[in-house]
Symmetry: C4
Subunit: 202 residues, 4 copies
């Protein structure tokens, strides 16, 4: 499951680039191409946001599975649900990139991230409730992880609600949420990638 999930994450993150369409010009004119390419610059925002979001969810999912002792049926179904949402992300990213922060494109994007955060939370709560992870015996680490997850669980739907009023603000919120998880001081990884992830360590 872990290897399969990793492949799906890596592949979804690489498919994001297909959201950039080569401009269709009648002639190979340098000036026109420059203008078309500059017009695509804002597309870098949803591209980067989606890239960072998938990257973060992948790191957490990978860490989560390393600490899990036993994969029950619920974990499996919820994991596949998470992968279903992850592999869908390139589409709303392409729509938002193509049409910019309209209300419809931004709400679609926000709803997808909300589903992503929601599915991830469901998976995490299932693991905690059934005590399937080693982390369940480490109260401080458990609390820290659950607190971190809250940011996504509440941040994404809030952003989506704001998208109805101001799509541009919402897009910046999504980008900020992705960046939030990259703030230092939370984690240490060992060189072989197999070591324990202890979020209480600085």
């Amino acid at each position: 499951m872990e290897a399969f999930g990793d492949s799906v994450f890596a592949f979804a993150i690489t498919l994001l680039v297909l959201g950039f369409q080569v401009p269709e010009l009648k002639a190979a004119d340098d000036h026109d191409l420059l203008r078309a390419l500059l017009g695509q610059l804002p597309q870098l925002i949803p591209y980067t946001t989606s890239f960072a979001t998938i990257g973060i969810i992948w790191l957490n999912h990978h860490a989560m599975f390393h600490e899990v002792d036993h994969v029950d049926h619920g974990t499996l179904v919820l994991s596949l649900l998470l992968l279903l949402v992850v592999s869908f992300i390139p589409y709303p990213t392409a729509v938002l990139g193509r049409y910019g922060p309209l209300r419809s494109s931004t709400v679609l994007y926000g709803m997808t991230l909300t589903l992503l955060g929601g599915t991830y939370s469901l998976l995490w709560r299932h693991i905690v409730r059934h005590r399937l992870s080693k982390v369940c015996n480490q109260p401080r680490a458990l609390k820290a992880k659950t607190r971190r997850n809250l940011v996504a669980t509440f941040g994404y739907p809030s952003g989506t609600a704001i998208a109805f009023a101001s799509p541009k603000t919402a897009v910046l919120i999504y980008l900020a949420l992705a960046m939030f998880y990259f703030l230092p001081g939370h984690r240490t990884w060992t060189s072989n990638g197999d070591g324990p992830l202890d979020p209480t360590q600085t």
Copy 2:
């Protein structure tokens, strides 16, 4: 073979999203985009069905190869045949998503799933006949597995036959068949994904 197969499954499942085409609008109009996006909502049904179907076949194929002692030439050829069908699935999924449940699109989709079920059954029967798997010495597990496979072997062609009369009903049957395999109470996975899969265990 196992790693290669896993990659093909993961890629095919992620390529499904390319069935969603970014709407082509003349102007970046919010109202028009909303209508175009809402018009794509039914595409989620074949997308989810194909995702779940590939997911299920992948889980079974992965489990099957873990129990196999010896890979002979027939197993190899039949496995490549299975991967050929798996990697084709994004196409009929995109056609069904684009044109909805017409007779032609639904029959094409159903024929692909029938081929998928058929190839998988051939592979399974080859393994059982040549006693290549550890499961061959566990009569109860063998029976349970073979019984489960029957659902696909007969369900997919039946759905395809129904597609000639009522494509919509057929689409719901394909979705139901994919969901059937997610019913709990059949399997347990161990945390490292290497443990034995014992379908007689509840």
Copy 3:
């Protein structure tokens, strides 16, 4: 290198499906869609040929690297050259699938397969000349392997030469060459995929 190569092979094989374009119809008409889909049937020939060819080259490349003791600079550069050709295959496959066996599309396809066979032969000869593989000490196995490679080294350019006169014949030759390698009686694989491949064994 081996894992990277495997990913490239698996990914190239899965991208082949993108050669099938969803028909562009003005209305969602069942009759028109059926006709368009039936018109795509011949595309299955280059799709299957490329799938089988990449599958075969991957099996051989994977086996070759398992027997190699030492990867020198030449092996590395020739392997990347092989991957360059492999990852290009989806393009001529799509062209041949779209326009059928015209002279230009068939020669392009044949030249790509010729390059594939040529690069593979160069890699194999480099390994044999520098005695980098365990097989170099097994004269019978070495002879059998080298003989098998000849089929591709001479078969692909011959097919391409024929493509100038009769593209349809050439397409059938490429398909036949891919099928040739699936004939039984040559190999045995062990269950974990790590065992030795002994082509002298029946």
Copy 4:
């Protein structure tokens, strides 16, 4: 991280082929198709350049991670940044392939390679400054590696500056830089891909 990174590199390298568009002809005419295909020949230059560049960066990134003892937060963030640039490469490659060496397409391509070299250098300097790699205790190897990186750090921005005056020259510089890293006499790999990479060895 290593496996994930390898997957992203492999996918990005294989997505390059999507830069080749199947020609859109009104009729399946052999002569027209031949002309269209010959017109695509120059596209092989950016395709090969990007393929070789990603291949080289991947080999170096893979080797770098094998020698790293401890992955800290900075390494992780800089690695994801590198992967962000890597997975973007298929887009400027497709633009350069489609429109040829115009000033805009070449500068876009060069800026992407400059970002790639820059991100890679930042990652390497972070690892050296924090002494995270085994190589940090091997002065000669360290010097050789740092010297090699300089070629990319200065070569790519220089090429981009030249692109403003002569795009064609710039394209050849990018190709030459990719080829430079394939010159022999620098490295030896062991057969299992896990051995130490010693750049002081010939």
